[in-house]
């Protein structure tokens, strides 16, 4: 028992590595924050977006963030409710990623606002008919549910660590004491937690499906080539699972190595996550074929122009790298068991995540570049979109923020559920708590 508590908690301390990594993140954060102050001062004109292509990096990045956050639901709710025991050590990682990405996704939207000080107007003048209101609503809801799903299972863990982990830093003790809510492993307490988690796991399924479906509707409810599609919802959701699974695998790899969790995140877990990844990637491939083949067969004029730009025109290199390098090759490789071992699987996942990010760019930008009405009487830089340095820095800012949140959560709380792991092994860590 002591071993489990120690193994899963020994990383909870302020060591040099942490200070170096956080120092790096904070410095990078400040540098990028400077870019944002420029944007605040001079307006959105410092970004490459203009009247016609008004959605660029920020919105692509937003879609990516929402997508990545969906994984919390897949792992905890879908796989968990089905009853797969092997997901238990991964659930908290998945929820951490969900919380971090969902929290920052909202900020990314604010970064895309020309007058962020008027944020309140979005709510004051909200229209029930507007998918933007729906999006704001479901993302907030999803964030809260994910936060609860991260926090509730952690309550017993914090009680155990508070009592039994002697090396818990003293400054963290009060935090743990408050957050563990006088946990005594009373049956009534257990009943409340179990029921609450159960309700949340059911609630999060429609909430997660809605957040990405509504995000896809921000596009699909407009009449534009490339967006005017009835399968945009499932297309986005399946793509989200691909991005999220890959993100979880990468996180698993880092935690396993840095926090020495080899005994808990085993090759079996990686193998299984590899299978999950290849499964969702197949579903996504299927939707991709639909998305391109159906309009590509009919070739309505606007669609033809759009598809040509994607597959043979200005976006061709990015398009084929994303489709082949970020989806097709990973699928083929992952069919082999050897490729699902931790190291190769992580490398493949990195390719998948990069592909997933650029995929969002390919969904957002090319369509904006071909509106139905001709683009005319505008300066040259209105016609094509090139992200500016400031824009790239601000996008990095959002990534750094996600990393900071993930680092803080994973550094000061056990990454792997302690009590659950113990119980899975037939131990009861809480038995002697009160005595």
């Amino acid at each position: 028992m002591e071993k489990i508590v120690n193994d899963l908690s020994h990383h909870i301390r302020l060591n040099k590595g942490f200070f170096i990594w956080m120092g790096f993140l904070v410095l990078a954060f400040l540098a990028c924050l400077y870019a944002y102050t420029r944007q605040l001062q001079y307006g959105l004109g410092v970004a490459g977006v203009r009247d016609y292509i008004s959605w660029g990096l920020y919105i692509s990045n937003f879609v990516f963030f929402v997508a990545s956050s969906l994984i919390g639901m897949l792992i905890s709710a879908v796989l968990g409710l089905i009853g797969f025991k092997w997901v238990h050590p991964i659930t908290r990682i998945a929820e951490t990623i969900a919380v971090a990405f969902a929290a920052v996704a909202g900020l990314v939207i604010v970064m895309d606002m020309g007058r962020p000080e008027r944020l309140a107007y979005v709510f004051m003048y909200a229209r029930f008919q507007s998918p933007i209101l729906w999006d704001v609503t479901v993302i907030t809801t999803y964030f809260v549910i994910s936060l609860l799903l991260l926090f509730l299972p952690m309550i017993p863990d914090m009680a155990v660590l508070y009592k039994r982990f002697s090396k818990l830093p003293s400054w963290l003790k009060p935090v743990y004491k408050v957050l563990s809510l006088n946990w005594t492993d009373h049956p009534e307490q257990n009943r409340i937690i179990h029921r609450s988690v159960y309700i949340l796991l059911i609630l999060i399924i429609p909430a997660a499906l809605s957040i990405h479906t509504v995000t896809s509707w921000l596009f699909a409810l407009t009449v534009r080539p490339g967006w005017d599609s009835t399968i945009f919802g499932p297309y986005f959701v399946s793509g989200a699972f691909v991005a999220g699974s890959a993100a979880v695998i990468i996180a698993m790899y880092f935690f396993r190595r840095n926090y020495k969790l080899q005994d808990y995140l085993t090759d079996m877990h990686f193998n299984n996550m590899g299978k999950v990844l290849v499964l969702v990637a197949f579903v996504y491939l299927y939707f991709n074929i639909n998305e391109y083949l159906v309009p590509g067969y009919k070739l309505k004029r606007a669609d033809a122009l759009h598809l040509h730009e994607l597959m043979a025109g200005n976006f061709a290199v990015m398009f084929w790298l994303v489709q082949v390098g970020g989806l097709l090759i990973p699928i083929i490789l992952l069919l082999f068991r050897r490729m699902r071992r931790p190291m190769p699987l992580t490398v493949i996942s990195v390719a998948v995540v990069i592909g997933a990010w650029f995929k969002r760019y390919l969904i957002v930008v090319p369509t904006m570049a071909h509106p139905f009405l001709p683009v005319q009487h505008v300066p040259e830089n209105f016609k094509v979109y090139t992200p500016t340095l400031i824009e790239i820095a601000i996008t990095l800012l959002s990534f750094i923020l996600v990393l900071i949140i993930i680092t803080l959560i994973s550094k000061f709380f056990p990454v792997i559920p302690v009590v659950e792991t113990a119980k899975d092994k037939g131990l009861d860590p809480l038995k002697s708590i009160e005595s």
Partner: protein, 299 residues
């Protein structure tokens, strides 16, 4: 030596600038000579000022204040001498055709309105003397007057063009006439342009099913299509009761997806509110239940 060189360069570029008025925006030679065919009057200047404040001030600022917009290329202050030294025809051409980002005012301001803006801007140009319209009238083009009526027998809109020459008014033949009807968002051209007959008439078939307002009124504009600019603009606008009376509620009067929040469809409001209430009921219920954990003590 270096300073001298710089000075020469500076002088050279300065004279070059004087030489070519706004070299990036040439005016065709045949447009430069165009002039206003009436003498500027204080009334015109007043009208011009109002038009300027509405259409130009946002970019060009108040003349002499140099508070023009900071955009590229710079709009500049129109009271400056590089504008003052241009001919009326040049200014007229620039206002008519525009150049990105300056809009073209061809279809926004009538010719008369464009001239009154010029008459206003000219009040800031010292030493400006308006070219005498009397002397140059012949060279600068014909003046045409249009009138319009609906011929109930032929079911046509008949436009009559009269040329005002020194020998009194006479039918203008061969003037190309276009007619427009006013719709929601602008004017809709009704048919291809037609030249006037020997007697100065051009007839346009009137579609019998075209909707008008409640009383069947339609606002029709006829004008002489004159791409070369060799005629003074002629335009006539009239309200004719020849449309099909239509009294439909406006598209934004009823509840609809595209209306304001207050006119959202009931089912959208209900679905949204219900979904939010149900989900948040559970969330708040859970939060309260979890807070209760604190009160439970080991027995």
């Amino acid at each position: 030596m270096k300073r001298l060189f710089c000075l020469i360069l500076l002088l050279a570029s300065a004279t070059w600038r004087l030489e070519a008025q706004n070299p990036g925006w040439p005016v065709p030679d045949d447009q430069k000579g165009k002039i206003c065919l009436v003498k500027f009057t204080p009334d015109m200047v007043k009208q011009g000022e109002a038009i300027y404040m509405k259409n130009c001030q946002s970019c060009h600022g108040i003349p002499t204040k140099k508070n023009f917009a900071a955009i590229v290329p710079s709009p500049g202050d129109l009271s400056e001498s590089k504008v003052g030294s241009q001919k009326d025809g040049e200014l007229f051409y620039r206002i008519t055709t525009g150049k990105v980002p300056m809009p073209e005012f061809r279809n926004i301001l009538t010719e008369d309105e464009r001239w009154s803006v010029i008459s206003f801007v000219r009040t800031y140009h010292k030493g400006y003397k308006q070219p005498d319209p009397e002397k140059l009238a012949g060279a600068a083009g014909k003046r045409i007057r249009l009138s319009m009526a609906y011929d109930t027998v032929k079911k046509k809109i008949m436009v009559k063009a009269v040329e005002l020459s020194k020998d009194g008014p006479q039918p203008a033949k061969g003037a190309e006439v276009v007619i427009f009807i006013q719709r929601y968002f602008g004017n809709m051209q009704l048919a291809d342009p037609k030249p006037t007959s020997e007697y100065g008439y051009a007839g346009f078939d009137w579609p019998q099913d075209l909707p008008g307002d409640k009383r069947g009124n339609v606002i029709v504009t006829a004008r002489v299509n004159d791409p070369t600019g060799s005629m003074q603009e002629a335009l006539v606008k009239d309200t004719l009761t020849i449309g099909v009376p239509t009294d439909k509620p406006s598209l934004t009067d009823t509840r609809a997806m595209w209306s304001t929040r207050d006119k959202a469809p009931v089912w959208v409001i209900l679905t949204y509110t219900l979904a939010v209430l149900v989900v948040w009921y559970f969330i708040i219920y859970i939060i309260l239940a979890v807070l209760d954990i604190r009160k439970i003590k080991q027995v």
